[in-house]
């Protein structure tokens, strides 16, 4: 191929993006406030916890000026629960464990009891309303009021953050070896699920079916992107003649049967 760069973004680029996530630290030294492009950082005073971007937290950790408080999901207990959901839960046999809830979205148990999701707006310092979405949610900050009823869930950047924390701050985590083992198991279960998706991909290529990728992390997507898109593209090419025949048949039906709303809807769908 003439274009030397591979499709999609590389693992180090994904990791770079993950470094913008906010994490909680326990400082050991005072640090003056910083004016960063991503927003100002409050002055850090030792006994008080602070939220910092991951890259800055890692820097302070390497200089032994702070300890990182691990997010609640990066704990052997939570990971064991997630692995159990991934591997043994019937509802998630072909799906991935649910992503963290959005603000205002009821958790899994409340949903089962019939709670409706309500979008809860947040306000900027200027008083403007906005709705936070995944990359900007504090999913990796250690929560002071940890809710034990909430099912733990993996955030979007779980692969990158966990491997960076395990590497730089393994002494701040509980039982890092166990965490490492569990993370590896979870990754393997999820990768197997994603590849099993190839079987239903042709349904996606001919309209109708699809593969749910809800809850899949950035790194996992980056890894499988080349393979999955190549596979779908090829299935589409093989099925092109059949698709053509189907379209002609439908056009004929429409010509005979006059205007019909459902057909029109399907036609719109196919043109995507």
């Amino acid at each position: 191929m003439a274009f030397p760069l591979p499709r999609g973004i590389t693992p180090s680029e994904i990791a770079f993006l993950a470094e913008m996530e906010m994490v909680t630290i326990m400082p050991r030294q005072r640090l003056e406030g910083l004016e960063l492009l991503g927003g100002p950082i409050e002055p850090i005073v030792p006994p008080r916890r602070a939220s910092l971007p991951l890259w800055l937290a890692l820097l302070l950790k390497r200089q032994r000026r702070a300890n990182i408080l691990p997010p609640s999901w990066l704990h052997p207990g939570s990971l064991e629960l997630i692995l159990d959901i991934e591997a043994h839960h019937n509802d998630y046999r072909h799906a991935f464990s649910p992503p963290p809830p959005l603000p205002g979205q009821p958790n899994v148990r409340e949903l089962a009891r019939g709670h409706e999701p309500v979008a809860r707006p947040q306000y900027t310092p200027d008083g403007e309303r906005y709705f936070a979405s995944p990359p900007f949610l504090p999913q990796n900050a250690a929560e002071s009021n940890f809710d034990p009823t909430q099912v733990p869930s993996l955030p979007f950047h779980w692969v990158e953050i966990s491997s960076m924390l395990l590497d730089a701050a393994s002494d701040d985590l509980t039982d890092p070896d166990q965490i490492r083992r569990l993370l590896k198991d979870i990754r393997e279960v999820r990768m197997a699920k994603m590849r099993a998706g190839v079987d239903v991909l042709d349904a996606a290529a001919t309209g109708g079916g699809g593969v749910a990728l809800t809850g899949v992390g950035a790194m996992e997507l980056g890894e499988e992107r080349g393979f999955l898109s190549g596979a779908v593209d090829n299935l589409r090419k093989i099925g092109a003649s059949k698709e053509q025949a189907r379209r002609e048949q439908m056009a004929e039906q429409r010509a005979n049967g006059g205007y019909d709303a459902t057909q029109d809807e399907e036609e719109d769908y196919m043109e995507f």
Binding site: P11, S12, N234, I238, S241
Partner: protein
């Protein structure tokens, strides 16, 4: 497929069995005897691009010059083998650009069943390719036999999956070294 795509050009060059319907003066060179005429009913293997051109004469009002047949790579025998077990068939020895070729053939012939068989074949083999690609030993080990039988499209797929897995491992190792 773009104009300069080498795979597309090579697909065009694959041979297709054709039967001449008419006598063509002076075209004996195709058969190897230059200067002679080519008789009606002669069977010849012509490249895909030429066979395609000659066979669509019917549309221009003249009777068609040649009729096309299924290439050996998509014969009944091969399709039966693919139906039985897609994983054991050596597609590369049948045609180096097996899927590209079948795609072109399916444009020329209406073969509903063949589409189903090929789709199924591709899915089963893609799953196998993904498994081999994520194996850290890559293309060595017990999978050699299967991987040697991949056609060009499947090789590209293997390469995409394998490179990504390799980059991931490189990144994970890099994080540790820092």
């Amino acid at each position: 497929m773009s104009y300069y795509d080498i795979d597309s050009i090579l697909t065009d060059a694959q041979k297709l069995p054709c039967t001449f319907e008419l006598e063509v003066p002076g075209l004996g060179i195709l058969e190897g005897n230059a200067g002679e005429d080519i008789k009606a009913g002669t069977r010849l293997d012509l490249p895909l691009w030429l066979g395609e051109m000659l066979s669509i004469g019917a549309r221009l009002g003249t009777s068609r010059l040649v009729t096309l047949d299924m290439p050996e790579a998509l014969s009944e025998r091969v399709l039966n083998a693919l139906k039985a077990d897609p994983r054991t068939v050596d597609l590369r020895s049948l045609a180096p650009h097996f899927y590209n070729l079948s795609e072109r053939i399916l444009e020329l012939f209406e073969e509903e069943e063949m589409v189903d068989i090929l789709t199924d074949t591709f899915k089963k083999r893609a799953a196998e390719i993904a498994d081999h690609a994520h194996n850290s030993r890559g293309a060595v080990g017990e999978g050699v036999e299967f991987l040697r039988g991949l056609d060009e499209t499947e090789r590209q797929l293997f390469r995409a999956a394998h490179d990504r897995a390799k980059e991931m491992r490189a990144w994970a190792g890099q994080v540790k070294r820092k």
